[in-house]
Symmetry: C2
Subunit: 421 residues, 2 copies
């Protein structure tokens, strides 16, 4: 019997006339999320540098936490006993957890981020990760202790954590494998997907909704098979995962190709992507939600997101606050921004704080970047409503330079916001 989600809803409020972009609303037991939306990464059940109250004050709609980190510390059983993740971390809005798959496989292939984002690192520690039909055995990043994650276990952990949106357990296929590995991995993920659905259905009380993941790498025929699979399972939403190609253009192609294959009545999430240019492209192809550590991580390294129309540096989507040119710059990061950081501090002060390694710097720029991302998504939603997404884009990102053709080898290092994740 297919699952139903009486406490959840996805409505499409408007479809763009210019592209496949759409304006929507996801309803959850903890509130609504207007889409396109950005989901902020409270990886270990906390945003690094911002409290729930501050996130709310920055107009944040939704956050996510990571199953992998939380199962190791403090453990999902403790979070459950403390009343669930919402209560534990003090965030009363919509909340998503991932399945743990993405992080688990980082132990199998060096850094999964590096793999998925196409950084070519020496494969290391492959032996610590044993993949079988049953699931994955991996070593804790904290103490090396062995943990096992199976589809059933991942869903159970996510049930204990208690977020609104949960995700099936899959093998996060790395980039540097051939098509046959990708295909076998796809089918394993589908068998795991079915087990995830079954485990989810057994305990379904209506307070959570399940997302299925579309794998298939850069291969159109595999993406078709994956799309068929998720469409035929009673998922609430879909998330596009796995390798998105060697370069930005290839990622855009994979997204453009995959989205139309998916059941349009379900929200579509693009996993781990948060660059402004990437968001504009993906939104135009029909993506509804995004997540990425980029905005908050960038903040901790002194990068302040800023719209193209305010940025003299046409090579970046942010200001590098440590730069000498800000030494006596009395302006806020963005004089049109109403965040606490821009209301309170000059670029000169922020530059100084980073030079002095003062903690306040991280909090300040995190609040700005979070506000920026929420303003961006609000502007994108308004632009979809007004059918002027392409015009809106010009405000936020610099026009692309004439492209230099790069060799499409597996060794290509992409210098982009994606490499920062």
């Amino acid at each position: 019997m297919p699952l139903s989600y009486p406490n959840f809803k996805f409505e499409i409020l408007k479809s763009s006339r210019q592209s496949n972009a759409r304006l929507g609303k996801i309803t959850t037991p903890h509130g609504d999320v207007l889409t396109p939306a950005f989901i902020f990464c409270a990886t270990k059940a906390a945003i690094k540098g911002a409290s729930p109250a501050q996130m709310k004050a920055c107009d944040t709609q939704i956050q996510l936490a990571n199953t992998y980190h939380l199962m190791i510390n403090p453990g999902s059983d403790l979070v459950k006993r403390m009343g669930g993740l919402h209560k534990f971390m003090g965030w009363n809005g919509p909340l998503l957890t991932d399945s743990g798959g993405y992080q688990v496989f980082s132990l199998g292939y060096g850094s999964v981020s590096s793999e998925i984002k196409r950084k070519n690192l020496t494969p290391r520690q492959k032996s610590v990760c044993k993949i079988s039909e049953e699931g994955v055995v991996f070593k804790s990043y904290l103490d090396g202790k062995l943990h096992k994650l199976t589809p059933e276990k991942s869903i159970e952990i996510q049930r204990d954590l208690g977020p609104d949106l949960v995700v099936v357990f899959d093998e996060c296929t790395p980039y540097n494998v051939d098509k046959s590995y990708t295909e076998n991995s796809l089918h394993l993920s589908h068998r795991w997907g079915v087990r995830s659905v079954n485990e989810f259905a057994t305990h379904h009380t209506g307070v959570q909704a399940l997302y299925g993941i579309i794998q298939g790498g850069v291969y159109p025929d595999l993406r078709c098979i994956a799309a068929d699979f998720v469409n035929n399972q009673s998922f609430f939403g879909h998330a596009i995962g796995g390798s998105l190609g060697a370069e930005k253009e290839q990622m855009y192609d994979v997204v453009a190709f995959t989205v139309p294959l998916l059941n349009p009545s379900r929200p579509i999430h693009l996993l781990g992507i948060g660059g402004v240019r990437d968001i504009f492209s993906a939104v135009s192809h029909g993506i509804d939600t995004f997540d990425c550590v980029h905005p908050t991580r960038l903040a901790r390294h002194g990068g302040a997101l800023i719209r193209a129309i305010q940025n003299e540096d046409t090579t970046k989507e942010h200001l590098v606050l440590s730069h000498y040119r800000f030494k006596e710059d009395e302006r806020p990061i963005d004089d049109t921004c109403t965040c606490e950081c821009c209301r309170t501090y000059s670029r000169a002060y922020l530059r100084y704080l980073f030079s002095a390694n003062e903690l306040l710097a991280i909090q300040a720029v995190t609040l700005h970047n979070v506000t920026y991302m929420n303003r961006l998504m609000t502007a994108i939603r308004q632009a979809i409503l007004d059918d002027r997404l392409e015009d809106e884009k010009k405000i936020w990102i610099h026009e692309e330079k004439e492209k230099t053709v790069q060799p499409k080898t597996k060794n290509t290092l992409i210098k982009s916001e994606m490499a920062l994740v």
Copy 2:
């Protein structure tokens, strides 16, 4: 001609019938400070872990910044060009800077904190600090570059920084010197005090008020000479500095002896003291303001200040949040506290955040400890008004244990909140 401070005022609103405690109000161009008050240390022009808006939300009245740190980075000239410290750091309330003396001498004697607080460390790097009649030459803690600080230079820097309250430059006499050194140092500080006053007077426009420092170590006759000196200079307020003895009891004696020597119409500050027990004692002897890094530093190390009536651990004035017993403690730090931390997080969550090295832990407990100190001072002011300071004290600190007599040697390590500074 004596200096006048038309934009500043110190009023005594009530004198206690039980002790020398007094309720007062310091008026500055940036607002009033009800006394007794606690001054929070924004050492490098930022509270570590809390924004000006958050400090305000915690009912903070006044902050201080350190001349020593700011003259090295970013430099007082830059702060001046950026509109002064208030604007630079985004704090619009009353603000004090110290003279730099305290920190400068830390280069002369290992850590000045250790010296003043009577930790017996091996004297090191004595050579980096040259004291002459003119002033002090010292090496920057950042890059070893030589800097000179004289009374005139210190006042000039503080003028550029632009806080409301500024302090004369003195030699911060260490503990492990004999009376003759202390006496010579005292007279040097007085000559520097006169030069500080003259430099201050030359540029006095009414926006700053000057504090004189009372030295004299643990010697009553020297404290008398020092009190005479400061009373006869046209200072706005007085600050008790220098060595306060080898043990808590000796510090209380020095304070009790010194305060009655001072012009009672001026506010009296006790430098670098912030333990709750010490504050109650000093308030009862007539101290009006305190400063100390203790509450914010303790927070960064997972110590949450809590009233005795809520603390099972009678040996401490705080909870050690990393302790195992808080692992599943669903209570806030203090269920009578209205700070963001206590409204939002359980002890279990805070314990977890510290175990996971999450930045949010620092912010959360900093806000709590700041709120705690402001509540403490509010309660003390109310208790003075109601003539029940001794009763109020019992709510905040555990009764003192029967004293074990300790040998009064210079090697005595005091295990107390003072040692944490």
